[in-house]
Point group: C2
Chain length 222, copies 2
């Protein structure tokens, strides 16, 4: 491959964050295809590779997806705005999302991931397997983008109306648009993210049995 | 962190594969917690961190999950066996799955990921966002495990009956078991995986518009 994806795994992971503010510098096709290639290396159910990816650069397609995105955001926004007033940490995420919705069409490229199947949530027993055959590939792509300094942001709102999304993207009934990422060269930088201590989200054997409660990863003996 | 997760991103991704045949060598708690810690660095909707992870080591819990796994496999197996007879590539995946189902309780550790919400597929509009708040973390964990030479395999079958899975794992109605990975030190090695050429799964702007059809990543000019 032509680009350098050799960043160490832990550096890529610990500095990955949603990047919404990007420049208007273009992204070449070859880079996008290398990122998608690394995406397809992700595990997927029975290696059936039930995925298709659409690179979106066309202004009209972006505008149509952007309209769905802002429509959905208008519905979700009021209750989240209240939360943002009380929680300064959340206010940052909220403001950045606002910005991203407003500037949706300005991202130089987007990648839409489609599941090869008519319905993601059906049969119910296979829903996790269906989603699990798409999202690991998407996470690979976001990490690969991070390794070359490209910013990404995961978005599901632009696809919430699957019927419309299918029409905009020309996706046949045999496939289902699932999730998309926006891509662009960051205006700012990548950096560390804020997460709860690992000990607070891990149980042993049964939910709620928390031997490491309150402990950060470096406080846990090896 | 105590373990070395500095493998280059592209090496980790291009050599990641499902590892089902593992040794009985134990995995220390600290390593599992470091892997989960890197999992929690994954992007998730609005950084709400709607996840909980259960490390499973207990024999009884493993047996109960294993029973659900083999029950589901019995249902899926006959039609897949027919496919395996005709497709030698698929036969390998099929045989390995068979082996994994039979030896389920022998994995030294498992990690079950729960979504913080009563139903993953509800509301339907948020289903992709819900699953998308769990699977990127799981993919981070599988890559992190690969970086330290630990084998993983993603499994949804042991959790297909959510009511039973909740009971076995003591998960309250406020959370939903979503997906799990088995972990163990590989009997064999990691290695490259087989995927379609990237040009065959990528469209430009509209589904089916394939400027790179038939092309492998290295045949696409930069």
């Amino acid at each position: 491959m032509k680009h350098d994806f050799s960043m160490s795994l832990d550096q890529a992971m610990t500095t990955q964050r949603a990047i919404r503010r990007v420049t208007d510098e273009p992204i070449e096709d070859a880079l996008l295809l290398e990122i998608i290639h690394l995406g397809t290396k992700a595990p997927n159910s029975m290696n059936a590779q039930k995925w298709e990816f659409i690179i979106v650069r066309d202004e009209t397609v972006k505008q149509q997806l952007g309209k769905m995105n802002s429509g959905m955001w208008k519905l979700a926004r009021p209750s989240l705005a209240k939360k943002a007033e009380k929680d300064p940490g959340f206010a940052k995420v909220f403001k950045a999302t606002d910005w991203g919705v407003e500037h949706f069409v300005d991202y130089p490229a987007m990648i839409v991931a489609c599941y090869k199947g008519g319905r993601l949530g059906w049969p119910v027993l296979q829903a996790a397997s269906n989603y699990g055959s798409v999202f690991p590939a998407i996470q690979n792509m976001m990490l690969a983008a991070r390794a070359v300094g490209l910013g990404t942001n995961l978005a599901t709102m632009p696809l919430w109306n699957n019927r419309k999304a299918r029409k905009i993207l020309g996706v046949p009934a045999s496939h289902t648009p699932c999730v998309m990422i926006t891509l662009g060269w960051p205006q700012g930088g990548y950096g560390p993210t804020t997460r709860k201590p690992v000990g607070d989200v891990v149980s042993l054997d049964r939910y709620g049995n928390r031997p490491w409660q309150g402990k950060e990863v470096d406080e846990i003996g090896g």
